[in-house]
Each structure stands twice: as structure tokens, then as C-alpha cells.
């Protein structure tokens, strides 16, 4: 019914040092969906994300993207310390030969950073730096937004605020989001679909649809339906890890 934004067919990745980072994986992500990849460190979720971005080439298999316009958000804000917030956000436009900053200003506004265009990264809090990073990733109106544990280093309060804002932006703009996290709660709160991965070698062990209302307010995190879904994902994550441990 809906278009496929990203399709992976038997994609595997081995690193030159012999580590099998990702075993042959098939994955199809629908246009406009919010998908989270959850798993312990070393399960290949960041590798999978970088394969989708084209930052890594697969050892075997093929990756198809419906649209090449994408944004990438790293775990650190990854801002240029010598450039202002506005200049950082405008970077993708500049690299594309653009000189007009109006969409960069607009992207900053969208992330609630109206008054901070001229601020340098060191003058901003961790949460605000991450907002600049998201503004930069979305300034080119991408169809696909790839996020690699973007909120892992933030305090819980800031993380909840950013979760809320990210969900609202996604609903408004209809991006396809692939979101890597090691937090089950974060994955369930944000996503329509949670993919559980396990390590050695990395691969998908569960693919779960999250049946929760689209409208998710802050107190929703305390509701039974939310906690039940989290428990469900946790169980599958633990089962996968336990199976790994007994095999090893």
C-alpha cells in the first residue's frame, strides 16, 4: 500500500579486522514511518544505520533508497565549533552551492532556537546543541532522517522534551525516520515499529509493531498500555541476549 523508503536485501557487513558486524539481513521500511532499532552495544544497529546512509558499503547484498535526500544525526551534536548555530545549520545548503540562509533560519525556528542563530556551540547546552544538529539534518527537507542514538548523552528531562518535539515534527513533516537507541522506553514512545537486534554477529531478532495511539502526551509514559508495550519489547530483547549468552 505505502511506498517503500528503504529496502535491504541480504545485506551483510564484515569489517576488515574479521568482525562480522551484521549477518545477512532483509529489511523494508515504509515511507513516512518511524522505525527504531534497539539492542545492546555491538549488535550492529549503528552499522545498519550507516549502511542505509551509504556511509558504509555492504559486504554482500543490496540497499535501495527511494529518495536520496536524507539527514543524519550523530550521537554527539557534531557541530563545527568555529561556526555559529546558523552557519552550522546552513552547512548542507552551502555544500550544495546555496547562499540563501532563510531555510536555515526556518529550521532553527522549527527546533525552538529562534534567538540563538548567532550563538557558538560552546554557548549552548547539550540539548540545544542536539537541536541545532537536528535542524541541520532537516534543513534540506529530507525524506529520510537517520538518527544514531542522538539523545543518549542527555539528561532525562531534556530527552523527554526532545522526544516530544521530534514526534511532533515527524507527524507534521512526514519524514521516514530510522532511529537507533539502546533505550526500550524511548523506542516504544517514539515509534510505530521497533526492531530488536542482538550481537555477535549483529542481526534482527524481532520486528514489532507498536499499537499505541498516535497522540502521545508526556503522562502517556506512565500509562499501562505504554508500560505493557515496553515490557513486550524488553522480553524479546532479553530473550535474544540470553540465547546469545547460552550459545557462547
Amino acid at each position: 500500500m505505502s511506498e517503500t523508503a528503504v529496502a535491504l536485501r541480504s545485506v551483510a557487513k564484515n569489517f576488515p579486522n574479521g568482525i562480522e558486524a551484521l549477518r545477512a539481513t532483509d529489511l523494508s521500511i515504509a515511507e513516512g514511518s518511524f522505525v527504531s532499532l534497539v539492542g545492546p552495544s555491538g549488535c550492529g544497529k549503528s552499522t545498519l544505520l550507516r549502511l542505509i546512509a551509504g556511509l558504509l558499503a555492504p559486504t554482500t547484498g543490496t540497499i535501495e533508497r527511494h529518495d536520496d535526500r536524507m539527514g543524519f544525526v550523530f550521537q554527539d551534536p557534531t557541530l563545527m565549533p568555529w561556526a555559529t548555530a546558523l552557519e552550522n545549520v546552513a552547512l548542507p545548503l552551502r555544500l550544495n552551492g546555496g547562499t540563501d540562509d532563510s531555510s536555515a533560519r526556518h529550521a532553527l525556528q522549527r527546533l525552538g532556537l529562534d534567538g540563538f542563530a548567532g550563538a557558538y556551540p560552546h554557548q549552548l547546552s547539550g540539548g540545544m546543541q542536539m537541536r541545532v544538529s537536528i535542524a541541520r539534518a532537516t534543513v534540506t527537507s529530507p525524506r529520510l532522517l537517520l538518527m544514531d542514538e542522538p539523545f543518549a548523552a542527555l539528561d532525562e528531562f531534556t530527552r523527554f522534551r526532545l522526544n516530544d518535539d521530534l514526534r511532533a515534527l515527524w507527524q507534521k513533516h512526514g519524514w521516514t525516520v530510522v532511529f537507533v537507541t539502546h533505550s526500550v522506553q524511548e523506542a516504544v514512545f517514539l515509534s510505530q515499529r521497533v526492531i530488536v537486534m542482538s550481537p555477535r554477529p549483529g542481526g534482527i531478532v524481532a520486528d514489532m509493531r507498536i499499537d499505541l495511539p498516535q497522540e502521545r502526551r508526556n503522562d502517556f509514559r506512565l500509562s499501562h498500555t505504554f508500560i505493557d508495550q515496553c515490557a513486550c519489547v524488553s522480553t524479546s530483547l532479553h530473550a535474544a541476549t540470553a540465547a546469545q549468552d547460552s550459545a557462547a
Partner: protein, 260 residues
């Protein structure tokens, strides 16, 4: 109070040393051609001032031109080496060779090959100054964050865009650190070159005057040259430090602390 102490304490210490020096010379009747008193050096500075300053201007001119050339060539070489790893492996050992060779040992050859004394001094001062700029800038060009590099790749930045917008800004603090070292080395290189080149010519630089005065046992004059050269080194260091601070104050850790 603390700011005042920063200036006053070293000043008082220096003044104390000078007084002890002066008194010791007078009490022990040490002759001027062994060790002149500070007052004798001051008198010489005043009396020979115009002549010494004319010679100093030659030294300063060589130093600054050599530093400028070292900056231009050093940065160009570092950029080339950073862009082509094969070039780095091929040529970097020769940069090290220039660095570790004492310029005094090369000076006689340069003097034979090159007729113009100004050019001789320039070549030797350049050789003394260029290495810190090459090696620091090269280190800086390679220090860009891995994630930012990936970001540039993701947006298909050209080699030139990556250089201009990522590598050069990253390298700037490293380059400025190298420049500060090279400033001092350029002056040292110029002085050594002048001494090796000898005392020929009326205005061949202050180091030549220093050497000439010491041959004639005019130690107050020789020491006046020494004082002027040290002051030049200090001013050069301070100027490069201010330049570095101006360029980095908006964002770099090294410059942010100084403001408050």
C-alpha cells in the same frame, strides 16, 4: 590586586637583580670589557641608539619576511602533504632533515652559492622557521572529527569544500601554535645567519654589530645589541600571541579562558 601582582612582582624582581648587578660591579671594580654595569649598557643604548636601531631594522626585516615565507610555504606544503598521503611519505623526511640540520653547518654553502646577503639570511632564517608550521598544520589538518568528516561525505562535499570548510578551520589553532614557535625560530635563524655571514657591510644587521663590538671588547655596546634583540623576540612572541587570540577567541578553548 592579582592583576597588579602579575606585572609588579616580575618587574620588582628584575629591578632588584639590576641593582645587585650594578652594586657588585662598582664594589669589586670589575672592568667594562669583562662585564659592564647596567648603567653602562643603558648609556650605550642611548648613545648608539640610532645606529643600532638602523641595524635592528635589517634584522627585523629579514625575520619578518622569512616568517612570512615560512608561513606561505609551510601551509602550502602541509596542505599538499595532507591531501596526498603518498606525498607525505615521500617528502616529510626531507622536512625533518631541514629541521634537524643545524643551520650553521649549511650557512657556508649558501654564502658561496648566493651572492645577495639579504637572500642568504632569508634562506637560512626560513630553514629555521618552516618546520613547526609544516608539522603543526599537518597535524591540525588530520585532526578533523570523524563524524564531521562523515557528515561532509554524506552531503557529497568536494575535496576543496572539505578542505576549506572543515580541515582548514580545524587546523587553524594548530597552525597558530606552530607560528608562535616559528616566530622565535625565525629571529634565532636570522641572528645565527648574520653571525655566520660575518661583519661585512655597515648595516648588515644587529647580530653583526654585536659580534663586531665583542671583537673590539666594547661590551656595553655588545650587550645593548643583546638587549634589543631579546626585546624584539619578546615583542614578536607577544604580537603572535595577540594575533592567535584574536583569531580564536570566538570558539577555541585556548582563547576563551583569557578573556575573563
Amino acid at each position: 590586586m592579582r592583576a597588579a601582582g602579575k606585572v609588579i612582582l616580575p618587574f620588582l624582581f628584575g629591578a632588584l637583580l639590576l641593582i645587585i648587578w650594578e652594586v657588585a660591579i662598582r664594589l669589586n671594580h670589575i672592568p667594562q670589557f669583562i662585564l659592564p654595569a647596567p648603567s653602562a649598557i643603558a648609556i650605550s643604548l642611548w648613545k648608539d641608539g640610532p645606529d643600532l636601531l638602523r641595524n635592528l631594522s635589517v634584522t627585523v626585516e629579514v625575520t619578518l619576511v622569512a616568517l612570512l615565507l615560512a608561513t606561505i610555504t609551510g601551509v602550502a606544503i602541509a596542505v599538499a602533504l595532507a591531501q596526498w598521503p603518498l606525498a607525505e611519505r615521500t617528502f616529510f623526511p626531507y622536512a625533518v632533515f631541514i629541521q634537524v640540520t643545524p643551520i650553521v653547518t649549511i650557512a657556508p654553502f649558501i654564502i658561496i652559492w648566493v651572492e645577495n646577503i639579504f637572500v642568504v639570511l632569508l634562506i637560512l632564517a626560513w630553514m629555521a622557521a618552516v618546520f613547526p608550521i609544516i608539522s603543526n598544520t599537518l597535524l591540525g589538518l588530520k585532526s578533523a572529527s570523524a563524524n564531521l568528516r562523515e557528515l561532509f561525505r554524506l552531503y557529497r562535499a568536494s575535496r576543496w569544500q572539505t578542505l576549506r570548510r572543515l580541515l582548514i578551520p580545524t587546523a587553524l589553532p594548530y597552525f597558530l601554535g606552530g607560528l608562535r614557535i616559528s616566530g622565535g625560530l625565525a629571529l634565532i635563524g636570522t641572528v645565527v645567519a648574520e653571525m655566520v655571514a660575518g661583519t661585512s657591510g655597515a648595516q648588515s644587521g644587529l647580530a653583526s654589530r654585536l659580534l663586531e663590538a665583542s671583537y673590539r671588547l666594547e661590551l656595553p655596546r655588545a650587550m645593548a645589541c643583546f638587549v634589543l634583540l631579546s626585546a624584539t623576540g619578546l615583542i614578536l612572541y607577544w604580537a603572535l600571541k595577540v594575533l592567535s587570540h584574536r583569531l580564536l577567541r570566538h570558539w577555541h578553548e585556548s582563547a576563551r579562558g583569557i578573556e575573563n
